[in-house]
């Protein structure tokens, strides 16, 4: 029953999420850095669940450090950057300009 429903809905519901590979870094690069953007974004939007001291997210998906963020760059992009808004959970997503900034920062390698 679940498999049938999943197949129908996956096939029928909307386009696939935008992926990191589909988002080039702007030719001029990005002005965003971990210090100026990434650290505050993850602290405010993600690390209530994705920090080592938090409870909720799987242990393999901790975002305490820049290295951990870079390790999961593609997955973070698919879930939370640009038009993708399945993270954080719920209807109160970060505003579009923040998600666009996250997309640009991740596309440029999360400097």
């Amino acid at each position: 029953m679940r498999a049938a429903l999943v197949l129908v809905l996956v096939a029928a519901c909307g386009p696939a999420p935008l992926e990191l590979a589909d988002m080039p870094c702007p030719p001029a690069g990005t002005q965003l850095t971990y210090a100026s953007f990434g650290q505050a974004f993850f602290a405010e939007r993600c690390n209530a669940c994705h920090a080592s001291a938090a409870n909720g997210a799987p242990a393999a998906y901790r975002f305490d450090t820049l290295d951990e963020v870079r390790t999961h760059r593609a997955r973070i992009f698919v879930r939370a950057a640009g038009p993708n808004d399945s993270m954080p959970p719920g209807p109160d997503d970060p505003p579009a300009d923040e998600r666009d900034a996250l997309a640009e920062w991740l596309a440029c390698g999360a400097p």
Partner: protein
Amino acid sequence: MPVAPWCHMRRAVLLLPLLLVSHTAAAGELAVDVGLAATTTAWPDDSGGGTTINATWWFRSWLGASFVGKEQYAPVDERFLSYFSLNAAARRSVGPVRIAGELGVVHQHEEPRAALMDQPIESLFGVADGTRHRAAGRAGVHVALPFAHHGHGDWYVALAVDGTAFAEADRGPRWMIGGGLAVGLRYDFAKAPR
């Protein structure tokens, strides 16, 4: 070899359900219905739906245990909701209509479509990284109206409504309210051929 007293207690606890089922099997009833479900949640604009199954074993004419399963889709974050519930059930007949109240516990998997597409096989088995495991309590009412009889029971249409309250609100909405319409079969083992 001496055995610790708690071992005997554990055996008794493990064997009790088997003894109960075997003792009452000859007089029990099994009712299973399958249908469509709708749901709304504590989150705004988060009404969805899917499929539902209710399987109830009636130990007595009024007392039973039920399993309720639902596979639903909800629009916020494009989530798939896999709902598993075990309940105690009590039943009363009003004319031809059987009305049952259910009280139980719930385990629900919530998973956005993006996570499902990322790990589809793991998702089907509930072990994907993006699966959020949630615990809840459930109260529901199940109304069964027979529309055709057979030698050992009847076919019925079922209308069910329930409410689910989750233990936390970090991984999904705090509550859900649902309804369903289903078609089912009741089989009375007391009337089965011996």
